[in-house]
């Protein structure tokens, strides 16, 4: 029993290591786009990714043929969505993107949608189900985010400050 347990642990460690070696780069890229940090300075994205990978490791034996990459990505997205929701009214610096980020002019939810839909190629239906919002809203948010990325506003800092201050 103990022997089988140990061999199962060794197999899990081996499989997980090759999974991390293959998927970490892509997942970290997605996480960095999500948190809106600069590619060379991304502590929040690293933390998020470590958590997602740890979660994947913990459920490794119960995946039953499910793709671990999907599981990690799902965890990454939902965890980020929850954190963004909690920090919505809090410190703006935590949710606002770094100017070096490719998605510097987008809000957290727009970043989430555009990363899932375009960077990761998740279907509209699946993204909507994952985030618990209607499909039409995913479609509209994705369109708006695409337009903002391609035609960024001229004075992003001033616009962001106004947008942050106006509702309160």
């Amino acid at each position: 029993m103990r022997e089988r347990h140990a061999s199962q642990g060794a197999r899990r460690a081996r499989e997980f290591e090759s999974f991390v070696a293959g998927a970490a780069g892509r997942l970290l890229h997605a996480a960095t786009l999500l948190t809106g940090e600069a590619p060379d300075d991304n502590p929040r994205a690293r933390r998020l990714l470590t958590l997602a990978l740890a979660h994947t490791y913990a459920v490794w034996d119960r995946l039953r043929g499910e793709d671990p990459y999907d599981r990690a990505r799902e965890y990454l997205a939902t965890r980020f969505a929850r954190a963004a929701w909690h920090h919505r009214g809090g410190l703006l610096s935590r949710t606002r993107a770094h100017p070096d980020s490719a998605l510097a002019h987008l809000g957290p939810q727009e970043r989430l949608i555009i990363v899932l839909r375009l960077f990761e190629g998740v279907g509209e239906e699946q993204a909507a189900a994952l985030l618990g919002i209607p499909r039409e809203r995913v479609h509209a948010l994705c369109d708006r985010a695409t337009a903002t990325v391609l035609h960024p506003p001229r004075r992003p800092a001033a616009a962001a400050v106004e947008a942050g201050v106006a509702p309160s």
Binding site: L28, L49, T50, A54
Partner: protein, 82 residues
């Protein structure tokens, strides 16, 4: 520019600078994952222990009190001959 082209352009912008994964990612993930697993095992074990204790307590109580036995009547017996 149609929708497909716009999406392709955004994809290219996003793919531009890939970040480098930190070298300690794998050990950190395994450490945290192992801790999560261990915590889950401990929680499950505690739950089973609580369940067992509850079952034993119920049995002991039932044997001691025997709630299925009708209690002796404390009211005055009804009058039958008067």
């Amino acid at each position: 520019m149609n929708r497909t082209e716009r999406e392709a352009a955004v994809r290219r912008i996003m793919e531009r600078v890939p970040p480098v994964p930190p070298p300690d990612l794998y050990p950190a993930a395994v450490r945290r994952g192992t801790r999560m697993l261990r915590r889950r095992v401990v929680a499950r074990r505690l739950l089973w222990v609580a369940l067992a204790v509850a079952a034993v307590a119920l049995t002991v109580w039932a044997v001691a009190v025997q709630p299925w036995v009708a209690p002796p009547s404390e009211t005055t017996p009804s009058l039958t001959d008067w």
